[in-house]
């Protein structure tokens, strides 16, 4: 909502300071996003009189004028505006003036004629879009007077951030009410220059239908349109609005159209009541009404577009068909134009949800729909209507046809709510006395019906506050007006609640620790990805094709990020992510399966280069295998790694594949090192605490065996056989310490050295014992796996 400081001043009858207003509104729940000066700095412009206008000898569209600016000198100024006349008074930019756009006015020749300054239009002053000609100043002020002094003290626009529950703040009156409460001053409707003192008589009450000024008004959908007021003004003179009206609208950012349309917009911005004016002679059959749209009705709206009215929308109709989408936009064929002589003014209430549905279906939002869908004050509509009639009569010189009509088929009052002071204390923690509660409620326009000391206070809420429907809503109002600042902030005793942390929290925390310790950097990629993986759940309304699905895995996004680093010539990349992945449910229509994964991708050097080691080795598959092993040990107790393709997979105890690691193909530049990546589902952390093992008392003895392995023979087989057979010989560990591929032995064949570690808990093992044990294990290897020692 754009609010004008000057307009609010007119309500509160006192000068106000925009920054102070912004602060007060923020503390009342309506923060001001911006304070914008209306018009540029006008201090450089002065009032000047054109004393002479001559044709330019060398240009048809230019004139040469003589300008007096109060300085005692006269200036020759070349001017292209069609409306410049001798004797006219206009804003003048002297030589040296900096224009709002930054241009500096200089003495120069235009087609051979000297120009010593510039006569300005409204747009050139930054005062609006009017560029049809010079801004004519109707003033008696002497030449040389600053323009700012003539145009009024200037204004500021407050861009108020209105929450969806506060439709009343879409009108200046609503904002003025809040400020009046904050400043503790009264407020009244602004006085209008030249407005007739006589009030407009109240409209005549009717039910579904009535007649005014010869036009029949009918509500055919009471639910959609609970109230419809109409009045006919004859003999109107359509034309530009008076300056005060144009200035008000310009201040809130509304374009001036003509005096009638401007009045409807003025009332909307003043009282939050959208209105519409029709050319009454364009209403076919001398009828107007509201009904539900029929299928495929078409309307050319005010903006000139041909629109199909959505099914179920409320339409304004004349005797023949639709002339407007209720609460959204009127039709072009019945709009008020320069030739209009009779105007019908409409002031109605519409069902917010119907307006909202219609404007959504139409894909448009207007000042009117924005207000109707939040809820206007149907009870306040009469006041808004009478103000509009009075203003239209005043600015057009027309005559109102009496009586005007007020169709209000299901008459009602705003609701009454009961408030318990004890409940105020229970929620706010604050014992407010009855007087203060009453003061707060009266400030928002509510009527407090009960007497003091009642356990329940009956409160009639104001019609402009559709958000107040229950006791708690009033408690919020009491807190708001009393002031959140005035509520204490005292820490009270807290009783502990035992509820364990979600297991996934610790799992993610520990996985991050493992990966950070490995030297990797955490990244948070977007969980939405392009389509491609059949497991990925699909979105109904994705932002773009690149974000059509939910990610079923983390590694692909990490690879994209690796490529991003390559694109900026960084080949050392170590990324990890911990996040949720999604896979479609087996059962149709069920929510996708969600799991927390940890993933990593590494490429480039394993260590930063050092002058002592200028070419450190790069990450390889064994790094990936170890990282995966650590994650499995952390968050998938019981699961183990198996070889799969050229990498490894992890299967849970139930057989589900829950992780993998290995080399990854990426869109690599030639200079890039290979990429390795891995991913695992984080289950529950290993539970329980490590048990202490007594420290060995006796020394270990080691023996190294270099074994000849045939092509395809796996070290894992050998290790597990050795462990199995070695247990009774006090074999404690088998370490693989070397591998050598001897091309002379044959393709795929290799020598692998394993170190056997023997240790007894009871005594020091002798060399003889260990040699015997080693010999037995060699025999086992030869017999069971056909593996023999390398002949040296």
């Amino acid at each position: 909502m754009n609010a004008s400081r000057a307009w609010l001043e007119a309500f509160l009858r006192r000068p106000l300071e925009a920054a102070d207003l912004a602060n007060r509104l923020a503390m009342l729940g309506a923060p001001v996003d911006a304070i914008e000066p209306i018009g540029a700095d006008l201090s450089a412009f002065v009032v000047a009189t054109v004393t002479d206008v001559r044709a330019h000898p060398d240009a048809d569209k230019l004139r040469v004028t003589t300008v007096e600016d109060g300085s005692g000198s006269t200036w020759s100024v070349v001017c292209g505006a069609p409306n410049v006349v001798a004797g006219g008074r206009y804003p003048f930019a002297r030589i040296g003036t900096t224009m709002p756009g930054g241009m500096v006015i200089e003495r120069r020749k235009l087609r051979g004629e000297v120009s010593e300054g510039m006569l300005c239009s409204a747009r050139e002053l930054g005062l609006g879009d009017e560029h049809d000609g010079l801004l004519t100043l109707e003033t008696d002020a002497p030449d040389g007077t600053p323009v700012a002094a003539v145009l009024g003290g200037g204004d500021e626009r407050l861009v108020v951030d209105v929450t969806p529950n506060r439709p009343d703040l879409f009108g200046h009156k609503g904002i003025a009410r809040e400020l009046a409460a904050s400043l503790n001053v009264p407020f009244r409707l602004p006085e209008i220059p030249g407005l007739a003192a006589t009030d407009v008589p109240p409209p005549e009450r009717a039910s579904d239908s009535g007649v005014t000024g010869g036009i029949t008004v009918t509500i055919a959908d009471r639910q959609g349109c609970p109230r419809f007021l109409a009045g006919v003004v004859r003999n109107v003179q359509i034309g530009p609005s008076p300056e005060w009206l144009r200035r008000r609208l310009a201040a809130v950012g509304v374009r001036s159209v003509n005096n009638v349309v401007d009045v409807t917009n003025y009332v909307m911005f003043e009282l939050n009541q959208p209105m519409h004016a029709y050319d009454a002679d364009a209403l076919r059959g001398a009828e107007i009404g509201v009904r539900t749209a029929k299928s495929s009705e078409v309307l050319v709206t005010l903006d000139g577009s041909t629109r199909t009215i959505p099914d179920g929308a409320l339409v304004i109709v004349d005797g023949t068909g639709a002339i407007g989408v209720a609460g959204v936009m009127g039709g072009r064929d019945s709009e008020v134009t320069d030739t209009t002589t009779t105007v019908l003014l409409e002031c109605a209430a519409f069902d917010p949800s119907r307006v909202r549905a219609a404007r959504r279906a139409l894909g448009m939002s207007t000042d009117a729909s924005q207000r109707f869908e939040r809820g206007t004050d149907r009870w306040g509509a009469v006041d808004a209507f009478r103000r509009a009639v009075q203003l239209v009569v005043s600015v057009t010189g027309g005559m109102i046809e009496l009586p005007t009509i007020d169709c209000f088929p299901t008459f009602s009052h705003p609701p009454r709510i009961f408030l318990r002071p004890a409940r105020v204390a229970q929620v706010l923690g604050l014992d407010l006395d009855w007087r203060e509660i009453e003061r707060c409620l009266v400030a928002i326009g509510a009527t407090v019906v009960s007497k003091p000391d009642d356990a329940r206070i009956a409160v009639d809420v104001p019609g402009w506050r559709p958000d107040l429907v229950a006791e708690i809503d009033l408690i919020e109002e009491v807190a708001r007006v009393h002031g959140y600042d005035a509520i204490p902030s005292t820490v009270g005793p807290v009783r502990p609640v035992f509820r364990p942390d979600d297991a996934g929290w610790a799992a993610a925390h520990h996985a991050r620790q493992v990966l950070v310790a490995a030297g990797m950097s955490e990244v948070l990629t977007l969980p939405m990805v392009a389509a491609g993986d059949p497991r990925a759940p699909v979105l109904l309304n994705p932002l773009s094709n690149d974000h059509r699905c939910l990610r079923p895995a983390l590694v692909p996004a990490l690879i994209t990020e690796v490529e991003r680093n390559w694109a900026v010539h960084n080949g050392d990349v170590r990324l990890f992510e911990v996040g949720t992945v999604f896979t479609v449910a087996e059962q149709h229509g069920a929510p996708p399966r969600e799991a927390q994964h940890a993933a990593f991708a590494v490429t480039g050097r394993r260590q930063p280069a050092h002058w002592n080691d200028p070419a450190p080795r790069t990450w390889d598959r064994w790094d990936a295998k170890e990282t995966l092993r650590q994650l499995v040990g952390l968050a998938q107790p019981g699961a183990s790694l198996q070889v799969e393709g050229d990498g490894w997979a992890v299967h849970a105890t139930d057989g589900r594949r829950i992780g993998h690691a290995g080399p990854i193909t990426a869109d690599s530049p030639q200079w890039a090192a290979p990429v390795f990546a891995g991913e695992i589902e984080l289950g529950t952390l290993r539970s329980g605490h490590a048990k202490f093992a007594p420290l060995p008392t006796f020394p270990a003895v080691t023996r190294d065996l270099t074994l000849q392995l045939a092509a395809g023979q796996a070290v894992a087989e050998i290790s597990s056989l050795l462990v199995q057979r070695g247990t009774r010989h006090d074999l404690r560990a088998v370490h693989v310490i070397d591998e050598y591929r001897d091309p002379t032995v044959g393709a795929g064949a290799r020598n692998v050295t394993v170190r056997l570690v023997f240790r007894s808990d009871h005594r020091t093992l002798t060399d003889t014992e260990v040699d015997q044990a080693t010999g037995r294990l060699r025999t086992s290897l030869e017999r069971e796996l056909d593996v023999s020692l390398r002949s040296s």
């Binding site: 602060n23 923020a26 729940g29 969806p164 949800s353 909202r356 869908e373 229970q426 706010l428 923690g429 604050l430 229950a470 708690i472 809503d473 919020e476 708001r480 959140y484 600042d485 509520i487 902030s489 820490v491 009270g492 807290v494 502990p496 609640v497 942390d501 979600d502 996934g504 929290w505 950070v516 490995a518 030297g519 990797m520 950097s521 955490e522 990244v523 948070l524 990629t525 977007l526 939405m528 759940p537 699909v538 979105l539 109904l540 932002l543 773009s544 994209t560 990020e561 690796v562 991003r564 960084n570 170590r574 949720t580 999604f582 149709h588 229509g589 929510p591 969600e594 930063p608 002058w611």
Partner: protein, 355 residues
């Protein structure tokens, strides 16, 4: 009485003790053996010889010899260290000690993760425990139970991404969506069992917002919920004010402003004094001197009712905040999109935290 015959050898030993500071490495080791050697050392021998003396002599000579032994050990140790340092200096002659040391890669936590962890830890210290929930939710959990009126303008604040039902026809309220806030976890916690509750809820939430410098279609949120008997707006202010001081520093000014959320009433925004201009007013805080940090309020009685909690007996407060925004403020990151990229040049800037 005393034993004057022993005086001169002791004097001799004192001279040798004084000379230790001048010995070279080889002479020092020889002297060590000559004096303190376990078998033939001068002092060792004399100490052994004490056994043959009378008790009085033993007492007199023993004390003297033991004191000498301690002095020799100290003098030899000191000289040995001196010689070692000299030797290292000689060996190292020509080594440029200004050459750089050997670096290793350092892992980093994402700045948003660090912020989330800090927030969660503060609330855990206040007796909250961590609750998590699914990111795909039903409309009922995300909106209905949280008192969003169907088709109300409040929904405009939550531009929602829906899952393609792929032909399935969900029942009312069962339409699947990506949660627009972490508040559905409140609903899950409350429906799980009776009050009291005190939970902090970190998680990812989604909006149908295109990327721009300050918006992202998915971002983190940390939410909190406290429901008990006698919880009031005073507790809300006190708890969140305490949080602000823990997170932003002792004495950080805060203010609470009225606001609107369908699931809390009264609702508030908590501002903290602008971290960039210390409340003086700058471009970042639009001249107000305040930064909006979190939304909060008393849990709406309709939400309690929808979760089977009697609002006349139980009251509570809830709050939510955006770690991305806080991380941007904290580190001066001008564009939220940096927080979604894996550019090592960006991520490696945050080593001081968490690594």
């Amino acid at each position: 009485m005393s034993a004057p015959k022993e005086e001169s050898p002791v004097t001799n030993l004192r001279d040798r003790l004084a000379a230790i500071a001048t010995l070279d490495a080889a002479a020092l080791e020889a002297e060590d053996i000559a004096i303190l050697g376990r078998k033939q050392g001068e002092l060792t021998r004399r100490l052994k010889g004490l056994a043959t003396l009378s008790i009085d002599d033993k007492r007199a000579h023993g004390a003297l010899l033991n004191a000498l032994k301690v002095e020799f050990e100290a003098a030899i140790g000191t000289r040995r260290a001196e010689l070692a340092t000299e030797a290292r200096q000689q060996d190292g002659a020509g080594v440029d000690l200004t050459m750089p040391g050997r670096e290793s890669w350092h892992g980093t936590l994402h700045p948003v993760t660090v912020v989330i962890d800090e927030i969660v830890e503060i609330f855990r210290a206040l007796g909250f425990s961590v609750a998590l929930g699914p990111e795909v939710e039903t409309e009922e959990h995300n909106f209905g139970a949280l008192n969003f009126a169907a088709d109300h303008p409040a929904m405009d604040m939550h531009d929602t991404l829906y899952l393609d039902p792929q032909g399935a026809v969900p029942a009312a309220g069962e339409r699947l969506l990506l949660r627009t806030h972490t508040s559905p976890v409140q609903v899950r916690v409350m429906r799980e069992g009776p009050p009291p509750y005190r939970v902090v809820i970190p998680g990812t939430v989604y909006r149908n917002d295109a990327f721009d410098p300050s918006h992202a279609p998915a971002f983190a949120q940390v939410e909190g919920l406290a429901v008990d008997q006698n919880i009031t707006f005073v507790d809300l202010k006190a708890t969140l004010g305490h949080f602000a001081e823990r997170f932003f520093g002792a004495g950080t000014p805060v203010r609470f402003r009225p606001s609107f959320f369908p699931f809390t009433e009264p609702s508030a925004e908590m501002d903290v004094s602008c971290q960039l201009c210390a409340g003086q007013g700058c471009a970042a805080c639009k001249g107000t001197g305040w930064m909006e940090i979190l939304g909060c309020g008393m849990v709406h009685e309709n939400v309690l009712r929808n979760c089977g909690v009697d609002p006349e007996r139980w009251t509570g407060f809830a709050f939510g905040m955006g770690p991305q925004r806080i991380a941007m403020l904290r580190h001066g990151v001008p564009d939220i999109r940096h927080l979604y990229a894996g550019d090592m040049r960006f991520l490696q800037q945050f080593r001081s935290v968490g690594s």
